[in-house]
């Protein structure tokens, strides 16, 4: 039994944490949250220079060719720091999609630049309120020209490349297309969001050039596979954030006195923090299995991913809301950083599908395993 990270991976974690402590304090998060910039471009540049955006991309495409176990270590630390950069969009979604289904030409065209962080990529599925499905898509491609609207698209205002899910007449009802966002006929409108430390946009495509990515009429199953893989990485960000929120609550409770003693000595607070620890531990352990399933492309990946995802959503939501509660009135102020976690936890739980969607996927995977 070896269900643990290697020495090298633990060293990478220490290094990543140290780097983000120096370069991504909550001051950096606040600057993006309060300012006009969509992301911290300087931090993005440094992260790319560290090679994080290149982690799992093979060397022949300009990447480092490392494993997903290294990538989840980085994801946890980015989640802990609430890094205001388009890492999840560009690395977990766009790069992964091109890696999985790109033609040799597409890979050579995009992966080296995605690996170097010169290009920011993202994925566009949703077309408005409610759960998207293979039959709900309205965007279409005709003769290589894409028309339709995507809303919201995470990092859609700053991305250079977008993978778009469109309606298909055959197969599973959808296809994936790769679109260069620098074209004039694409209208990008930033939208006001719950977590302004991460930007989102509305994209209107009016006959934009689009290249098929993968197989026509297989787009919906491609999206599901992409989501399964990304779910593990998102869950590691959520675990990192959950632990950070627990530590914040703990530090405050130890230093805050009421009725002559630290509030951390009251059972009402202790049991709250113990409940956070329990949820975080369950999420972390499920994420270990998710990481293993992702790295080995195990047949169990859909179940492992859904389990990690649901656990990550629940742990971070709980830790972020109870962190505010532990801080009392100060936790509700703009000045304190508690709201960063509350916003980010909710945002991460909505990107790539909500808790209910993933609970359903989890049970579907269980049914599939039981039938097998």
């Amino acid at each position: 039994m070896n269900f643990e990270f290697s020495e090298e991976q633990n060293l990478l974690r220490d290094q990543a944490r140290g780097f983000l402590l120096d370069n991504c304090s909550t001051r950096v998060v606040r600057d993006v949250l309060e300012g006009d910039a969509s992301y911290d471009a300087a931090l993005w540049k440094k992260v790319a220079e560290m090679g994080w955006t290149a982690t799992v991309i093979p060397e022949e495409y300009g990447g480092l060719g490392l494993s997903y176990l290294e990538l989840v270590v980085i994801a946890e630390e980015l989640g802990r720091a609430m890094a205001p950069i388009p890492f999840s969009s560009s690395v977990y979604l766009a790069s992964e999609a091109v890696l999985a289904w790109g033609s040799e030409e597409q890979k050579l065209a995009w992966l080296p630049r995605l690996a170097a962080g010169e290009v920011i990529g993202t994925l566009a599925v949703s077309e408005g309120q409610g759960q998207a499905s293979a039959t709900s898509l309205n965007a279409t491609v005709s003769g290589g020209a894409l028309s339709g609207t995507k809303l919201p698209v995470i990092d859609g205002d700053i991305a250079d490349l977008v993978i778009v899910a469109v309606k298909s007449d055959g197969g599973d009802g959808a296809s994936l297309y790769l679109v260069d966002l620098t074209q004039d006929c694409i209208e990008r409108t930033p939208v006001r969001t719950l977590d302004p430390s991460r930007s989102q946009a509305r994209l209107d495509f009016n006959g934009a050039n689009a290249e098929l990515l993968g197989i026509e009429g297989r787009g919906w199953s491609q999206v599901q596979n992409l989501y399964d893989r990304a779910a593990v990485l998102f869950a590691w960000e959520q675990v990192g954030g959950s632990d950070a929120a627990l530590e914040m609550a703990k530090d405050y409770a130890m230093g805050r006195f009421a009725f002559g003693r630290a509030i951390a000595s009251y059972q009402a607070i202790k049991h709250k923090l113990a409940a956070m620890y329990v949820k975080n531990t369950l999420a972390r352990s499920n994420c270990y299995y998710g990481a293993w399933a992702l790295e080995t492309n195990a047949p169990d990946l859909p179940l492992a991913a859904a389990t990690a995802r649901v656990a990550g959503i629940q742990a971070y939501y709980f830790a972020s809301k109870e962190n505010i509660q532990t801080h009392g009135g100060m936790g509700y102020t703009w000045e304190f950083d508690c709201h960063f976690h509350y916003r980010r936890a909710k945002l991460l739980s909505l990107n790539i599908g909500s808790e209910g969607t993933w609970q359903d996927k989890l049970v579907t995977a269980l049914e599939h395993n039981n039938a097998a």
Binding site: N2, K250, Y266, A274, Y277, T281, S285, Y288, Q314
Partner: protein, 405 residues
């Protein structure tokens, strides 16, 4: 990451499997024996072949095995055996305490091999009516009389007292000093005159525990472990060895059994498993179940590497017991009015859900209540301060109590 044994672990596992294959008793061997006798038959075979109390020194019947070897043997034994374990307290707690605190080598040679072979069964006499979570608030009196001590008082929640040969006992030898300082620890023969054992009937209708009354029970001073007044330190050795794990094996209430039920019964004329709320609940319970399993894998990895496991395994009982309670209750809801039937023939899985519903409140209390487990996580894992204690530094007999007399 991988889920394979190291070469040494694989070799040990093969050796264990070979032993179990050759020596595990057949149905014929067990015929006519009660559950305790069956467990004793198996324990004796393990002992005779060097497979009992693996972590103990060879001199006392053990194998000098590593923690991971113990885990591997337990895994393999669990595949072939569904026997009860009446030796858990004796082998798991009393034995290690004797080894740590008993200075009389003759005693060690007298008692440990018979503990290891299952010939003698031990029980633990710690809890008292007025000291539940506050375990150290024991009131059972020990008074010195020449070379003996005279014991008067009452213990409670004693598993297996009625079939045990010996017991480990903590008493109050000095009520005029603060709580933890006035305790003294003994072991004793359960046949000693003056001991009266009364079974406790639980809400499930069964009786796994007893009340044990002491009236002028004499224990020789030579059976004291640790110094007079040092009983709490000795008790901590015992408690460190207490396993908070939830018993596995057999059919139990979990995602699998509730899912099977949800496939059989209907909600709105469709299988309940198609209902989104049912699915959401199953998913949440699966997150807990899988989370505990993978947490135990992390602990096993630490043991396999020869390092000390982290604190993460402390969540097991706190998560597992309430989850099982909620799942049993929910399964009965799925059966609608029939959920109330508790009958071997009429109920699903011979009444597993109803039986579990009534048994599980005990598990949320035994070995540390949910609330105490949460305190332990808060204090020992997260490092939060203890609540102020009203009894600190005060002579025990001046501490306010609900106890009478």
């Amino acid at each position: 990451m991988d889920f394979n044994d190291t070469p040494q672990e694989a070799a040990f596992r093969a050796e264990a499997q070979a032993f179990l294959k050759d020596y595990y008793p057949t149905a014929e061997d067990f015929k006519g024996l009660n559950p305790i006798e069956q467990a004793q038959l198996w324990a004796k075979r393990k002992f005779d072949n060097g497979w009992s109390t693996l972590r103990w020194p060879k001199d006392y019947g053990g194998r000098d095995a590593s923690p991971i070897e113990q885990v591997i043997f337990n895994q393999e034994e669990g595949k072939v055996s569904d026997l009860g374990d009446p030796f858990q307290i004796g082998q798991g707690m009393a034995g290690p305490t004797l080894m740590a605190w008993c200075k009389n080598k003759d005693y060690l040679e007298r008692y440990l091999p018979k503990l290891s072979s299952g010939e003698e069964i031990w029980c633990q006499l710690f809890s008292e009516p007025a000291g539940g979570s506050d375990l150290a608030a024991m009131r059972t009196k020990a008074e010195r009389d020449g070379d003996d001590w005279i014991i008067n008082g009452q213990k409670i929640w004693t598993s297996g007292a009625h079939y045990s040969d010996f017991g480990i006992l903590v008493t109050r030898s000095d009520p005029t000093v603060p709580k933890h300082k006035g305790l003294t620890y003994f072991f004793l023969d359960m046949k000693t005159p003056g001991i009266e054992i009364k079974p406790i009937k639980q809400i499930s209708g069964t009786s796994n525990f007893n009340e044990v009354y002491f009236t002028d029970v004499r224990i020789p001073d030579s059976q004291r472990l640790g110094d007079v007044g040092q009983g709490w330190s000795v008790a901590l050795t015992t408690l460190m060895n207490e396993r908070a794990a939830i018993g596995g094996g057999g059919v139990s209430v979990g995602v699998k059994s509730v899912m099977q039920l949800a496939q059989k019964v209907n909600i709105d004329d469709k299988p309940a498993i198609e209902d989104k709320q049912v699915r959401a609940k199953l998913a949440d319970w699966y997150v807990q179940e899988a989370g505990l399993k993978f947490t135990s894998y992390r602990t096993l990895t630490a043991l396999s590497r020869g390092s000390t496991p982290g604190p993460e395994n402390s969540i097991g009982k706190l998560v597992g017991a309430p989850k099982t309670q909620d799942m049993a209750s929910f399964a009965m809801d799925l059966m609608e009015e029939s959920g109330a039937i508790w009958d071997d023939e009429l109920s699903e899985l011979a009444g597993l859900f109803q039986g579990t519903f009534l048994a599980i409140p005990g598990l949320r209390i035994a070995g540390g209540t949910d609330e105490i487990m949460a305190n332990i996580i808060a204090e020992r894992v997260l490092g939060l301060p203890q609540e102020p204690r009203m009894d600190k530094g005060i002579p025990f007999n001046e501490v306010p109590t609900s106890a009478k007399g």
